[in-house]
Point group: C2
Chain length 250, copies 2
Amino acid sequence: MSGTLVIAGLGPGDDALVTPEVSAELAAATDIVGYIPYVARVADRPGLVKHASDNRVEIDRAQHALSLAAEGRRVVVVSSGDPGVFAMASAVFEAVEAGPRQWRDLDIRVLPGITAMLAAAARAGAPLGHDFCAINLSDNLKPWAVIEKRLRLAVEADFAIALYNPRSTARPEGFARALDLLRQTCAPDRVMIFARAVSTPEEALRVVPLSEAAPEMADMRTVVLIGSSATRVIARDGPPLVYTPRSVPV
Amino acid sequence: MSGTLVIAGLGPGDDALVTPEVSAELAAATDIVGYIPYVARVADRPGLVKHASDNRVEIDRAQHALSLAAEGRRVVVVSSGDPGVFAMASAVFEAVEAGPRQWRDLDIRVLPGITAMLAAAARAGAPLGHDFCAINLSDNLKPWAVIEKRLRLAVEADFAIALYNPRSTARPEGFARALDLLRQTCAPDRVMIFARAVSTPEEALRVVPLSEAAPEMADMRTVVLIGSSATRVIARDGPPLVYTPRSVPV
C-alpha cells in the first residue's frame, strides 16, 4: 500500500495555534477529509480535493478517508483541537479494525493539536495545573449513568475537570443534571470557567462560582472547566487569574 | 506596568510541534526564563538575555521572571509541553498571588503547547480517545496517599490514564507501587504504553499488557499511558495501533 492517511489536529481555531508539522502535511495532501467547518479552514489550491461532510457521520467519513488512502492518495483527515481527544482519530481506528486487512498496512499517522481544554485553561490562567480529567458530556455514544458515575468519582478524586460537548440543542438536559450533581458534591464557591470558541472572533470567557453557574452558559462551542477544591482566583483590575496550585498539603 | 510576561509551551521536543504563536513571542522577547534544557532550545540572538536555572526552583524562577517583567522587560517563561500541565504556569500564579500587588497588573499571558500525553497518544494511535485523566506521579508536592486515592478512583471511573513524572532516581518506588495498585484493580491484559522522549532523537515507544509492565520501563522522560478497560490493540506488521473507542455500550 502506498497511500498515506494523516489524522491532524487544527487546534481550537486560530491559525497561530496550528503546528508547523500539521501545516506541512496540509500543504502536501492530495485530499482533505472532515467535518464541513474544519475542511473550510484549509485553503484551496490546484490539485487539492476537499471532502466535507456533516456531523455525526464519523465512521462513514473514516471509511471514505481509508478508501482514498488505499487508492494511493495522500489523505489528511482534519479535526479541530487534538484528533485524539473526542475527535476523529478513534473513529478512524474503529474503521481500521472493522475494515479490510490491507487497511492496517497503510501509513497512518496522528498529528497532535492544541485541544480545547488547554486553550481554555491558558486563557484563564492555569486551572488544570494539577491532576485533572476530561469527560465528554455527550450521551450520544454512552449512557448517562456512565457520565454521572465518572463525574461523581472525578469530584471524589478532587480532579480539576474539563467537560467537552457540555450541551447541544438536541440534548439540553445533560449539563443541567451535571450541575445538579456538582451542587450536591462541591462547595458553592467551586470555581467554574465557561470558555466559548477560544482563539476565534467569537471567544468569550466567564469565571463564576458554582452557585452562579447556569445551564445556559454553555453550548456546543463551549468547554467547561471545573476547578478542584484547591483552585484559586486572583482578583485584579482585569479578568481574574484562575489557577490550581501544584502542591497538595500533607 | 508596561512589562509583559508570557508563559509559553515548547511542546515535547520537536520544533515542528511549537505553535507559530509561541515562535512569534520567542522572537519578540527580551528575556527567556526557564529550566536549563528548555532555555537551550531558544536560539541566541543579539539583545536576547537567557536566564537558565536548575530544576526544583520553580518559585524562585517565577519571582525572577515577574521582577524582570515589572522592570518593563518582555519576558517569556518557557516550559516543555503545555505550561499549564504540570509545568511553570501554576508556579507563576502562585508567585503572583503571594507577591507585590503590582504584579497582578502586569500583562500576563499563557500560550498553550502540545503536552506530553497528547504527543505520546498520537504516536500510539488514540488511547485517550475517550474520557481520561492525567496524574502527576511525583510525590515531591503531595503525599503518596493522595496519588494512590486518585489512581484508585481513576480506575473505578474507567478513565484512560496518563501518568506524568512516573519515576526518578530520587524516588524509584512510587511507580512500582502504582503498578501494584493497577495489578490489584485491572485485568492482566490492560494496555500500557511507555512513551519516552516523544518527538526527540531518543524517542522510544513500548506497548505492553499490564502483566508484562515493569518499573524499569519508565524514567523521568517517560509518560505512561494506561488504557481504559475498553482500549483495543490492532495488530499489524508494524507497531500496533492502540485506541479507545468513542462509545460505551449501554
